[in-house]
Amino acid sequence: MYATSYHRASSVEDAVKLKSANEEGKYLSGGMTLISTMKQRLAAPSDLIDLRHIPAIRGIRIEGRKVTIGAATPHADVAASRELAAICPAICKLAGHIGDPHVRHMGTIGGSIANNDPAADYPAGLLGLGATIVTDRRSISADDFFTGLFETALEEGEMVTSVTFEAPEKAGYAKFNNPASRFAMTGVFVASTAGGVRAAVTGAGSSGVFRHPGFEQALASNWSPDALNNVAVDPSNLMSDLHANAEYRANLVKVMAKRAVASAG
């Protein structure tokens, strides 16, 4: 690892100020992506601004059916929240299958979505729920937030502070793990929300997480796994790599979508 300087931010304002004073610096949340990448010398930030000790951006708040999850909330806390499981069990299940227990104790929702790995789970969950990403300066809808492979709408120095969503009527998530890395080789999140049916696919698209309008239309008229039988999944925009080619992934997308609907009940 190259040399770096560590700063522990005490508040959101403090963190943003530290970031703007250190242009080559990076925010550090759970470090499960960033420290790993720095160890490989694939990233070399001059400074690290640690967000884990800012109480205001940690924890889950539920008001009626409105859910707010602080950016520095670890995956394990989302997985174990009884209050959240009572109104949106699918997001708890999603969080509980990220990586392994030790990764879930450190890794956070803010870090996961800011990183926007094309095989990460939360991008599918938040796009499927129609969530809103709140930053230090504005609110961004999930539809506008995830813009490509490891790309988001975040501006230079912009920091995610929380994500919010309305608990859906029902929702489900199904993931086909890469057995070595545990990332999604394909994961599909489906939700029936106040704004309509949404279906989001991760781990498969060649430009990252995407919605599948064909699934959404079919499920809007008939919420059942069988409704997806005749919906086509086009492999031309899907990834091919050593784990799976695009045709194989296209089949997985459909199978995972059906399992997600079945798990939603």
Binding site: G31, V103, H105
Partner: protein
Amino acid sequence: MTKVTLTVNGRTMSGECEDRTLLVHFIREKLGLTGTHVGCDTTQCGACVIHMDGHSVKSCSILAVQASGSTITTIEGLAGQGELHPVQAAFKEHHGLQCGFCTPGMVMTAVDLIGREGGKLTEETVRAGLEGNICRCTGYHNIVKAILAADAEMAGGRQAAE
């Protein structure tokens, strides 16, 4: 150089290190506690698992400065007064190790798992709990057996205490 202070296995310990120093190197090289191992550089093997503020974490992917101020338990902190922790005893009894390289991480993972889900573990939940730990020797079978036995023993102990 930055000063890092940790409470390790019940004792307050400090040392100076670079900001880029990994917690596992700090523990092994500055504090001389070499029970915590390094088995990979991809955050996947779990040989380095310790407890930080009561949760299992991979100490190879945390900076020592990030951990400063926290409470740490390493494998050296489990046995009390010369007596093995029930999980350590179960690994011995059920032959849950061969070369032993993965064992500190396996034991720390098992203690965390029993702490969270103790009394209701099954073969399936134990195997899921070991997803972040790799063993090149045992085939996992006896590790799972040892953890289930320790869970049953510790649940019995808890009941007796109530």
